[in-house]
């Protein structure tokens, strides 16, 4: 790289020119924000560049991390467990000095619309911090716990509070996702039939909004 190019990249907040190896599709949410900024007339002038209006949070960098985790064996004697998956996000792209202002986990399913597991059936979703062995960290309760009568195509969870300490440059984020068939007295279905909704699990991604160092300086000046 020429010194000029290095210096320009640095001024754009990049330590080097990125070299993506197998880039995937652009997440629709990022396209929407990008297009909105380009096309809409903004009331009161230009959009604030250190605020993400779409999420109503401070920030100038929005990243979507793909999940690189694997499915875990269900081997434990938990008859109602439908799915157990390690969610692994490589956060090495975060740079020193960035401040996290929003973290949103998205779980996607293959359903095209609302999907009921079975009449009256409930699916329970739990998310744990993972231990180094990729299991729920012992002695700690779930980060998040939800019950669903209907699974939508996409479920969004705010992980901001949980990630305040976890999302940092050079760190990875490892979580364990469990979906199980909810307990109900007198259930007659087999465990597998009770899990029907969770079989459509498709993918997971993590959206992070951060405030870069330049924006933090600008905000403190203001």
């Amino acid at each position: 790289l020429s010194p000029q190019e290095s210096s320009l990249l640095k001024s754009l907040g990049l330590s080097a020119k990125p070299s993506p190896t197998s880039p995937g599709p652009v997440p629709p949410v990022l396209w929407r924000i990008f297009q909105k900024r380009r096309t809409l007339p903004w009331p009161g002038g230009e959009p604030e560049s250190c605020r993400v209006e779409e999420f109503n949070v401070p920030g100038n960098i929005v990243r979507v991390f793909a999940d690189q985790g694997r499915f875990l064996p269900e081997g434990q004697p938990q008859g109602r467990l439908c799915l157990r998956k390690l969610l692994f996000f490589n956060l090495s792209a975060l740079e020193e000095g960035e401040r996290l202002t929003m973290a949103q986990l998205e779980l996607r399913f293959h359903h095209n619309s609302y999907h009921s597991p079975s009449p009256g059936q409930v699916l329970e979703l739990r998310l744990y911090q993972a231990s180094p062995r990729g299991l729920p960290r012992p002695g700690r309760g779930p980060l998040l716990e939800r019950s669903f009568v209907q699974l939508r195509k996409s479920l969004l969870f705010n992980l901001g509070a949980a990630l305040k300490e976890g999302a940092a440059p050079g760190r990875n984020l490892a979580l364990v996702l469990e979906i199980s068939a909810g307990g109900r007295a007198g259930d007659s279905g087999t465990p597998r039939s009770l899990c029907a909704g969770s079989d459509a699990f498709a993918a997971t991604s993590l959206l992070l909004v951060t405030l870069g160092r330049r924006c933090q300086a600008a905000r403190s000046r203001r």
């Binding site: 190019e5 754009l12 907040g13 080097a16 020119k17 990125p18 070299s19 993506p20 190896t21 197998s22 880039p23 995937g24 652009v26 997440p27 990022l30 396209w31 924000i33 990008f34 900024r37 380009r38 230009e46 959009p47 560049s49 250190c50 993400v52 100038n60 960098i61 929005v62 990243r63 979507v64 991390f65 793909a66 490589n90 090495s92 792209a93 870069g212 330049r214 924006c215 600008a218």
Partner: protein, 113 residues
């Protein structure tokens, strides 16, 4: 019929058109969008006496005055951006993550002396 003579470009300080194409600088393989943008630049003179439309500072007014008296020792004020606007860039990082980043001060909207 004879073509009309081209309009003489104004020599005064004002934004000039500059389109930056990311493929021209070899960044097309990691920047997803936009492919380029109208960045503009400031060009032109800040002559004595400075007209009101030149967005001049008091300092520039005095500098042009001194320049008119001593052209060798004191340069004319510079023509510089006085209002810039942000743009958003969508790109892939080294880990193939998709990043949307808002950058301040990327487009020259107004120039001044």
């Amino acid at each position: 019929s004879a073509p009309s003579p081209p309009a003489t470009p104004s020599p005064l300080c004002k934004p000039r058109r500059l389109y930056i194409s990311f493929s021209d600088v070899g960044w097309e393989n990691w920047i997803i969008a936009p492919q380029g943008y109208l960045a503009n630049y400031c060009g032109g003179e800040c002559p004595f006496p400075l007209a009101a439309e030149l967005n001049s500072t008091n300092h520039a007014v005095l500098q042009t005055l001194v320049h008119s008296l001593d052209p060798q020792g004191t340069p004319q004020p510079c023509c510089v951006p006085v209002r810039l606007s942000p743009i958003s860039i969508l790109y892939y990082d080294n880990s193939d993550n998709v990043v949307l980043r808002h950058y301040e001060d990327m487009v020259v909207d107004e120039c001044g002396c």
